[in-house]
């Protein structure tokens, strides 16, 4: 099966029901996309399919079709993704970092769809779990990216 991923076209041999996550991690050897639950619960495995966020642990290889897969490894190749990464660093968002590939991908997908999201848009789109409790900084970084300023003075890092 052919897979379009991060600007390349590759031939993959996994079975059609294999979750895209494991095709990416095992067969293609890219480990930026994380395994947290395998059950669409956490979002650590988020990638983009044609620019839209998808959870790769519940995306069978066969349903990717001709869609362009973008993983965290290629996020910085996108100007929107680059801005997200910058702000993620500026706001010192990650802690353990394990959920953060997914968070950055989800943020990038939202901003590609809507460069000026409202607070509600952000809340609606940023639903990935973080066990380390980086939620406040994620919303601060998002508000900053959306041009809505940061939450309250002195509360970001």
């Amino acid at each position: 099966m052919k897979l379009k991923i991060n600007g390349h076209s590759v031939e993959v041999t996994s079975d059609p029901d294999t979750p895209l996550l494991w095709v990416i991690r095992d067969e293609l050897g890219m480990t930026g996309t994380k395994f947290g639950c395998g059950l669409a619960q956490c979002g650590a495995c988020s990638v983009m399919l044609d620019g839209k966020v998808a959870r790769s642990c519940v995306t069978p290889l066969s349903s990717v079709g001709a869609a362009e897969v973008t993983t965290i490894e290629a996020v910085e190749a996108d100007p929107v993704g680059q801005r997200v990464v910058e702000k993620w660093i500026a706001h010192q968002v990650p802690q353990c970092g394990y959920c953060q590939s997914g968070q950055v991908v989800a943020a990038t997908a939202l901003l590609k769809e809507n460069p000026k999201p409202s607070r509600d848009d952000i809340a609606a789109a940023m639903v990935n779990l973080c066990r380390c409790g980086t939620y406040n900084r994620i919303s601060d970084a998002m508000l900053d990216l959306a041009g809505l300023g940061t939450a309250k003075d002195g509360e970001t890092l």
């Binding site: 480990t31 490894e73 353990c96 953060q100 066990r131 380390c132």
Partner: protein, 752 residues
Amino acid sequence: MKDNDPVLMEDVAEGAPRNLSRRQFLVTSAGVASGALVIGMGIPLTPARAAGTDQMAPGTNVPAFLEIRPDNRVRLLSPFNEGGQGIFTGMAQIVGEELDADPESFIVENAPAGHDYLVVFGKMRITGGSLSTRSSYDTMRRLGALGRQMLLEAAAAQLNVAVDSLTTEPGQVVHTVSGQKIAYGDLAKAALDLPVPDPKSVKLKDPKDFRWIKQPFKRLDVPDKATGKAIYAMDCKVEGMLHAAVQHAPRLGLKPGDIRNLADVQAMKGVHSVHKLDGAVAVVAERFWVAKLGADALQVDWQEPTEAEKAKIRYMPADFSTEAFARHLTEAKGDGTEAESHGNIKTAFDGPGKVISATYHSQYVHHAQLEPASTLARFNADGTLDIWLPNQAPEQFQAQIAKVAGLKPEQVNVNSPLLGGFFGRHFLYPGANPYPQAVALAKAVGRPVKVIWTREQEFLRDPLRPMAAVRFRGALDASGMPVAIEAISATEGPSEALRGHNPKKVDSNAVEGLTGKAYAIPNRRIAQIYVKNPTSLAYWRSVGHSMNDFLYEGFLDEMADAGGKDPYDLRMTLLKGNARLTNLLKAVGDLSGGWKRGPFTAPDGTRRARGVAMASPFGSEAAAIAEVSIDPAGKVVVHDVWEAIDPGSIVNPALVKLQAMSAATLGVSQVLMEEVIYKTGEPEARNYDLYPILPPDRAPRIHVRIVESGAQMGGVGEPPLPAVPAAIGNAVSHLTGKRVRSMPLDKLTLAT
């Protein structure tokens, strides 16, 4: 027990001498987009540098910690692992300060197992107990200073001048008179071949001259974590590696019997082999997903252990339920073994004032770190074993892995990649770490094997924070002031669960948070009734405090209410004369805009109330205020948490703040929604579906104020947690008029 003591592991593994010639190996990540990524771990040392390693005090063998590259970048092998707490950055700041090298030029990795790295109070090594910075601060500063001294000596030799005519600027040695400068990178080779000076010969900086310590220095690990480049155990791979998935016995203690469909699974395309292990069956395959499907498919006839076997292990009976166990704990008889006592508890309840009593409960909780456990093991031709696994104590793991593998500790190279969260998950726990499986499988198949536990298998073996039922009694005097408090906790503590119960002793980790409270209540008695627990138990972020402060501070509010006192004022009164804590309590009051308990109507129309609580965990002090309302579905909404934290003194305010926000959020999660439920000997939840953790839409805004009292340095990673659930519980109790005595709150039917 004092919180400054290293309480977590008494059996300190010493750490084997490092096998320096074999330290270089590759972790490859050959991907479509990432290309080949090569990570070298360990520092290759010349024989001269390696000499004497074992004789030197931990934390003094500079070449074992530092590599300074020609481009002036400093590679530091940290004795503590990075799992989000920012310790790599903190270590770079501390060492960089005395080395006089910009922490920004540091590359930090976790050090391998070895005697040199036992820097926790100079005798052990764990990343836990909120010990890292406070236990090694002076040692790591001295290490930097020793490194600087060696660079100075090398420069003196090169320039042929006296050492004391030289000084440093960040990253370079300067000859003051001539103005000559030599970059560290150009001196490093010579410098690190010099003998390490006597540690007593170097002088540490006067804190007023600090350039980096105390600054909100940005974290070094953040860029890689924001771009998916950070490597966790789960991500490690080596050439020729096979993947393994397991099916764990549904209950602890069961053994694999016949596998009905063994041949079918063996015949699956891509399956290499199927293996019976201790309490598990593993499928080894070329790719993980195939192994995972195979492991799920296995129809294993799980066998009960014999009575003799049951006596030796933690056996989970088929009828165990948490509901029944909670009753069992509540019914535990007796006064327990005393953990703390002041005044005279016998007569204290005879006064004329009110006496109140109540039983409080804590629940089992999962660590639920986002990265499930995994281990990669590779046997080498020379008989050594390379192993990659998430861990909080490399030397202890090294000793145990060596036993399992039948090797000497020095033949085991322990690699500790970044931790995808830990919260106490990655200590040595019997049956809860995948390394025995990885070692057995790598041995059996003659190839490197990586075992990954799916979330379902992780939750089946994650050891839990203990359950407890705590019986409180409190007496008030005629004016409504507390004069006596007694708390008897029926529970098994995590330390006695791991190391064996001593009938004469209390497990201090079981009662901390009931003990060690600073309130001046003249008569008090804290005790534990030991009740054996069939699940495996563990340390969970802030350990006993994570539950006990919730229980104690809740009952204290009950006493305040019974005596007609405001809970904030009562705490102030009970802390009179304690400048550090009254100051802290005042700080959190100020941070929240002035204490107001409510209930009041917020601008958005919701009815809200606030609660306050304090805790004294891990050598630090914390005070929290939480504001809550109840939504129409009866669920608690936590709007804001204000927390003041006093760790005595700090290294990096940004890191302290991060940790406080993180710990507070975990506290919110456990008090609102977390509980492991057993029904018939099996945990009901195997994934986040039935064990939800705090999602973003329920996360409150957390406001942190750091107070530096100048007291002895305390911990930072755990101390901000315990006060938060308690403050929330107290707010909810006040708002609803119904006293909350157990967690999680989502289980209760609440209405205002």
